[in-house]
């Protein structure tokens, strides 16, 4: 596949020309703008926006994968409700990202357990488990900062463990469980890296908005389907922790009898799916609870990644309460690290 530079990735901004890139170089290496001191507890526009360099895409078994890189980033990992900042280390050369999706439907596969082994002339340069991450322009992907061994052609072996802790339904049933590995080329050069767009955004930094999604790429992004694209009837959209939770009532053979109540959490502004959170639901009718328990994670070809529980039927007048018990266990790029961490219970009446 062709290698492309997504200069336009700094979406919505005029892409920086070469001279501009070099001019920015000092700003970048001398230090990105510091993290804002007064960040909202919500999604916000980061201090700077970077593009990225797409390297190669490949396919094996049930998975397609692409590798790309950008400047090293600071990012935050989330364990339980503890957030840990990962600063850029002096020897980090690049932020390496891997996207993993279903080659048949283009549905992005979260929770696939990804590690990469980077080699140069058969010599191991690095091997790391890479974190499931959310970024505003890309949504869900896997990534980490890497120290590389200078300008060279590297091979990135993407090792995919397979989906774990997620049920698959419909035509996805039984898929994505077999592990596989995909070798992708990454030709890294300092000079080429400096051509990747970079822009400081002091005018927008901290605003309650988000960088646009990189929708012009021919690689699928983890954008959750809009409510009217989802199968079934929309009960409503609740929100908490600055995330939106679209609740659908779906009846379909693949979910067995009754109603499959599907909850599809996504980011505000650009609707990126939010995986790996703990969610409980209570459905009350006339003061009596019809459902009270944890929702399981499900990957479905039409609903995408969502959380679900089954009951006989929803009726007008029922009340749905949703409670997030564990915040989404995904690492965050800047602009997402203060959002989706603490959630008030949500209630939705069934119309």
């Amino acid at each position: 596949m062709n290698r492309r530079t997504f200069l336009a990735a700094a979406a919505g901004t005029t892409s920086a020309g070469l001279a501009g890139c070099f001019g920015l170089l000092e700003t970048r290496t001398a230090g990105q703008p510091p993290v804002l001191s007064d960040r909202p507890d919500a999604v916000y526009h980061p201090t700077h926006v970077e593009g990225m360099q797409m390297e190669e895409m490949g396919q094996s078994g049930d998975f397609a994968a692409a590798v790309m890189y950008s400047y090293p980033h600071r990012f935050w990992t989330v364990s339980g409700s503890a957030v840990t900042k990962h600063s850029i280390r002096s020897d980090d050369a690049a932020h390496v990202m891997v996207a993993v999706w279903d080659p048949e439907t283009g549905v992005v596969v979260p929770d696939a357990g990804v590690s990469i082994a980077v080699t140069k002339d058969e010599e191991v340069v690095s091997e790391e488990v890479i974190y499931p991450m959310l970024s505003q322009p890309m949504g869900f992907h896997y990534g980490a900062n890497f120290a590389l061994d200078g300008t060279a052609n590297y091979t990135v072996e993407v090792d995919i463990g397979g989906l774990s802790g997620v049920e698959t339904t419909g035509s996805f049933d039984g898929r994505f469980t077999e592990s596989t590995s995909i070798d992708l080329d990454l030709s890294y050069s300092e000079a080429e890296k400096q051509n990747i767009s970079y822009e400081n955004t002091p005018d927008r930094a901290g605003d309650r908005t988000a960088v646009d999604a990189m929708t012009m790429m021919d690689m699928p992004l983890g954008i959750a389907p809009s409510p009217d694209e989802l199968p079934g009837a929309t009960v409503g959209t609740a929100s908490a922790g600055d995330a939106q939770f679209v609740v659908q009532a779906v009846e379909a053979d693949r979910f067995g009898g009754g109603t499959h109540v599907a909850v599809s959490p996504r980011t505000p502004h650009n609707g990126m799916l939010i995986p790996r959170l703990g969610l409980e639901m209570t459905v009350v009718r006339d003061g009596e609870s019809l459902f009270d328990g944890e929702l399981g994670a499900v990957l479905d070809p039409e609903l995408g990644y969502h959380y679900a529980g089954g009951l006989d039927a929803l009726k007008s007048g029922d009340e749905i309460e949703l409670r997030v018990t564990i915040p989404p266990q995904v690492a965050r790029h800047e602009g997402y690290e203060t959002a989706f961490l603490s959630f008030e219970p949500m209630t939705l009446p069934v119309a």
Binding site: H86, D111, G113, P132, G161, G165, G278, T325, I326, Q329
Partner: protein, 432 residues
């Protein structure tokens, strides 16, 4: 390595380097530099019947620490060899192997100061016979054991494991087995394994390693260990903790096959694990390391001081095993020891670990060697360790927050049978 090149390197580090390099020149450098000569290594016995019938009966020949834990010998070599002949081994070849091994037993005391060794046979070795192994032997071909690994599978016929506190003893034994030297520790060799087996000189056939306080810290200038990492000086292993407490090991009795033609045998699993300790040492603090190695409760309660010397003869992981699901939710991570402790039988682990660190290929690594009655005991333990059953909790992923699996990458696996001493020389599947 000549002694002059090694000036400034401390003695033990030098010995470790000599073992890693191997061969006669390393051996003479080892002997020359320290006068760590033949005289100082205790010689063995003329009476093979004085030695335990179980090849894996090492504990009685190992020293114990202050808490009664057996202390494994510090230097190790694994030799993966193939039967050189066609068809099945002859009586003469069996005689050669047995006599080479008995020569070693005459040359070196059966102890950590002399030499401890085992000879193991793979499923592939037994395939050459018409008969199959009896049901009392549980020895499948090696296989990937988790969804997130893709190891090379070792299919050599034979593996010889040599262990000693003396690097010189190891190298002498190896050279003598190969037939590069007619004596070992000043004792005449009656035969050499090299006459019957193709023995390796290089990785992956030849693997080396070390374990014991100080050795990992001294050998931490390898890929996989970041410059910023401070491997504790007293740690016996790269990951910074003591391992192999007496109560957290199976007994030799428990791992012994009790019936059939191989009564007295055990099975051996050896995997090579690449260690990538950047995030382990740089992103995590000591409490987080304790939580991921042992269990979150040990971190909360400050149970583990330093490398864990204070734990005595029990890591306390047994108590944490029950709370693993709660910990996944409340602490957001689960520990290695607490997960593996779910595979106990009658309150004890079912495998006996004799693992050691390595710098093979210039990489920080660990040769995970364990003996157990059947390979299914290893698989059960590994499955508990993998914790894939815990990934339905959002905090726990296959390799993140899931014990030490973020930092350890399995590259090779092999399964072997360690017959009792009476059948250790090129056995048939049904020895009499």
């Amino acid at each position: 390595m000549t002694p002059s090149e090694s000036r400034g390197i401390d003695r033990r580090e030098f010995v470790k380097a000599a073992v890693a390099i191997g061969g006669m020149s390393a051996l003479s450098a080892c002997l020359g530099r320290f006068g760590d000569g033949a005289e100082s290594i205790p010689t063995g016995t003329d009476d093979p019947t004085s030695l335990p019938d179980r090849q894996h009966a090492w504990n009685g020949a190992l020293p114990s620490d202050d808490h009664g834990n057996h202390v494994l010998a510090s230097h190790h070599v694994l030799l993966y060899a193939d039967y050189a002949g066609d068809g099945t081994p002859t009586a003469d070849e069996r005689e050669t192997v047995e006599s080479a091994l008995q020569s070693l037993e005459r040359a070196f005391e059966w102890s950590n100061e002399g030499l401890l060794f085992t000879v193991g046979y793979s499923p592939r070795y037994f395939d050459r016979f018409d008969e199959s192994l009896p049901d009392s032997v549980d020895l499948p071909e090696p296989a990937a054991l988790t969804s997130f690994e893709d190891p090379d599978l070792d299919t050599n016929d034979v593996v010889v494991h040599l262990a000693s506190d003396s690097g010189a003893a190891l190298l002498e034994a190896e050279e003598a087995l190969k037939g590069h030297s007619d004596t070992a520790n000043g004792v005449e060799m009656d035969a050499h394994l090299g006459d019957v087996l193709d023995l390796p000189d290089e990785f992956p056939g030849r693997r080396t390693g070390f374990v014991g306080g100080g050795l990992p810290a001294e050998n931490s200038d390898v890929s996989g260990i970041p410059d910023e990492a401070d491997v504790p000086e007293e740690s016996p292993l790269y990951m910074g903790f003591k391992s192999g407490f007496d109560k957290n090991q199976a007994t030799e009795e428990d791992v012994t096959i009790s019936e059939g033609p191989f009564a007295g045998a055990t099975t051996q699993h050896v995997s090579r694990i690449r260690l990538r300790l950047d995030d382990w040492y740089v992103e995590q603090d000591q409490d987080e390391r304790v939580a991921e190695m042992f269990c979150p409760a040990h971190a909360d309660e400050g149970t583990v001081e330093g490398v864990g010397e204070n734990l005595g003869d029990d890591s306390g992981a047994g108590d944490c095993a029950e709370t693993v699901r709660e910990d996944a939710r409340s602490a957001g991570r689960v520990g290695h020891a607490q997960k593996t402790a779910r595979a106990r039988r009658d309150g004890r682990p079912i495998i006996l670990r004799r693992d050691f660190d390595s710098t093979d290929k210039g990489e920080a690594g660990l040769h995970f060697l364990a003996v157990q009655e059947g390979i299914s005991d290893f698989v059960a333990t590994k499955t508990s360790m993998a914790g894939e059953d815990l990934t339905d909790t959002p905090t726990i992923r296959q390799r993140v927050n899931n014990g030490i699996q973020e930092y350890t990458f399995v590259k090779r696996r092999g399964n072997f049978l360690l017959p009792p001493r009476t059948h250790r020389a090129l056995p048939t599947p049904r020895p009499e």
